[in-house]
């Protein structure tokens, strides 16, 4: 802003216009739930390097924590970069009004983001997008849920699995033992955990698909949530289709505005036998597995 006063933003976590002006209409999400996001600066209250190049941040943002759902994301402005970085919400703590994000250093922007420390503020738009199905959106609390995550893709599944506690099984896939993240967090939230590594250094040797097939064969399952690489998601969608189990996948795409305005984060979706180009930010990032053109 240079010499000009920043008249329309503050540092208390909410932009002035949100407070002053009543909302006239709100968007409806995939489940008909009102989606509302905010834009502001929020304080980092916790920072941990949980493995090489992977960081966990706790961010104090009561209004966002109140409305956020597992599977949604935050869109973070990094000083000196034109584009914001979309990062999925890993966990939500409504009691202390915070959310947790876990991200991996992918490039200069995410590397720069890790310069931020506890006490620093973070400029973000959140919560954005549609989350995984939950009791709020009609998936019964007693449902048996399997979450399947690969690498950093396990992060958005923590909050989603937690809701179903012992009814949830988390299958976590990593390259090797030193890449394992969040396995203890899943365990502590009461979720059954199956860990696999490509090299067999911890847990089952191989990818997440074999344990998923075994789990689906062993007990009836109501829903599978998945997040990871495209080939992994493709394999999971196929397995779920064969088993006749509902499946939701969280997609990733290079993103612009994060709110459906710029139409860059497109993905091919088949709905009612018609193909559509939908936006990962606004229509996703969570889609029904069978809809996604992988």
């Amino acid at each position: 802003m240079g010499v000009f006063a920043e008249k329309t933003s503050n540092t208390t976590g909410r932009c002035v216009p949100c407070r002053k002006i009543p909302l006239r209409y709100r968007k409806l999400g995939r489940h008909g739930i009102e989606i509302m996001y905010r834009c502001g600066t929020y304080h980092i209250i916790e920072k941990t390097a949980i493995s090489a190049g992977v960081y966990s941040y706790g961010i104090h943002c009561p209004e966002i924590a109140e409305e956020a759902k597992p599977g949604q994301f935050v869109h973070i402005k990094v000083e000196g970069f034109t584009l914001r970085r979309p990062i999925s919400i890993c966990d939500i703590n409504r009691k202390n009004g915070s959310i947790r994000i876990v991200f991996e250093i992918r490039g200069h922007g995410t590397a720069k983001l890790t310069d931020s420390n506890v006490g620093d503020s973070i400029d973000m738009i959140a919560p954005l997008g549609n989350g995984f199905s939950s009791p709020q959106s009609g998936l019964a609390q007693s449902s048996r849920v399997i979450t399947v995550g690969g690498g950093i893709g396990v992060a958005p599944l923590l909050g989603a699995a937690k809701v179903f506690r012992e009814n949830a099984t988390a299958i976590l896939g990593f390259r090797s033992y030193d890449k394992i993240i969040l396995a203890n967090d899943f365990k502590q939230s009461g979720v059954n955990v199956i860990t696999c590594t490509d090299d067999g250094s911890v847990g089952l040797r191989g990818t997440v698909t074999a344990p998923l097939e075994a789990e689906l064969a062993a007990k009836p399952c109501d829903m599978v949530f998945a997040c990871g690489s495209l080939p992994m998601l493709g394999a999971i969608v196929k397995i779920c289709e064969t088993a006749g189990v509902n499946c939701e996948v969280s997609l990733e795409q290079r993103m612009g505005c994060g709110v459906g305005g710029c139409a860059v984060c497109a993905c091919g979706i088949t709905r009612n036998d018609k193909s559509h180009m939908l936006m990962v930010c606004r229509d996703g990032p969570v889609f029904k597995g069978e809809e996604v053109v992988l």
């Binding site: 584009l83 914001r84 459906g260 710029c262």
Partner: protein, 304 residues
């Protein structure tokens, strides 16, 4: 001191000179969680075509130093959906509503303009500058003849104020602006994006699936400012400036160079509140410089 932020472009009065540029604001529905559309001077809607378009294969965006590339390829729901679904809401909630139109053929442009002529849309912005489509788009904007033929065809079927949006990817933008002016344009808006490219050095693949795309953001601002200055000095019709405007200072520079109003694009992607900050900054600039009417600063740069 009472400030007057209103500006007039092609006979249409805007409550302030800050307009959302086409392609970053959807159809004005995306930012209403943060602030009402009525705070914007106007909205230029996502470029629309006669029929629905799916756009290019992603990735469609790549970051650059002080900017970004995009290759959306005019994904839009088609002009009918705009008229039936989006326009009534835009007119209810917003101020000046500009329909940005694009076509593959001259007949397409005329057809869309004809459909919009009987609607409440306040202004047409003829997009002869989209760099991301194989047919039409910028193909019309790179020659004076092309620009004139599209402008003429649209002029013939509409009484709506007509703004022609130019591409910077030309040898002499002044010649093209003049051609649009003599073919009946009421205003010129510039610049669209500059054609650019990025390559991932690990995969040796261009980051954009379209290989190339349009560069926007602060990186292009000086180029945009120079072109606005050249065009504003050469045509009699109104000029709307855009290209990398990121702050109120940038907006003031653009107006000093000859723009009656400005459009904000990439800055909104970085910061959804950018238009409001720019409007606030303009008010501050007026107060500290004793300017009563913002419209008075247009074209008052003092070149050496």
């Amino acid at each position: 001191m009472k400030r007057d932020l209103t500006v007039k472009v092609a006979g249409v009065t805007f409550p302030n000179p800050v307009i959302a540029a086409s392609g970053v604001y959807g159809f004005g529905e995306c930012y209403t969680d943060l602030y009402p559309l009525s705070l914007m001077g106007g909205v230029s809607c996502k470029g629309m075509t006669l029929h629905k378009r799916d756009g290019n294969t992603p990735p469609r965006i790549a970051e650059t130093s002080s900017g970004m590339l995009n290759s959306v390829g005019l994904q839009n729901p088609g002009v009918d959906t705009f008229i039936n679904t989006h326009l009534p809401r835009l007119k209810r909630d917003g101020n000046v509503i500009i329909a940005n139109i694009a076509g593959e053929t001259v007949a397409d442009y005329a057809e869309i303009a004809k459909l919009l002529d009987s609607t409440d849309v306040d202004m047409l912005e003829v997009n002869i500058s989209c760099p991301n489509v194989k047919k039409g788009g910028a193909a019309w904007g790179v020659t004076a003849e092309g620009a004139a033929s599209v402008t003429k065809a649209v002029r013939a079927v509409t009484k709506k104020p007509l703004m022609v949006k130019l591409t910077p990817n030309v040898t002499d933008i002044v010649e093209i602006a003049k051609a649009a002016e003599s073919a009946g344009a009421d205003a010129i808006s510039l610049i669209n994006t500059l054609l650019g490219m990025r390559i991932d050095i690990r995969t040796k693949r261009p980051i954009l699936r379209n290989n190339v795309g349009g560069l926007s953001g602060p990186a292009v601002f000086p180029v945009a400012l120079r072109m606005v200055w050249q065009v504003a000095g050469a045509v009699k019709i109104d000029v709307v400036g855009m290209g990398g405007i990121n702050s109120a200072e940038d907006a003031v520079e653009m107006m000093l160079a000859g723009a009656k109003a400005v459009q904000i694009g990439t800055a909104i992607i970085s910061d959804p509140l950018a238009p409001l900050k720019i409007i606030g900054g303009l008010e501050h600039y007026m107060d500290t410089n004793g300017i009563k009417r913002i419209a008075d600063i247009t074209g008052t740069a003092r070149p050496w």
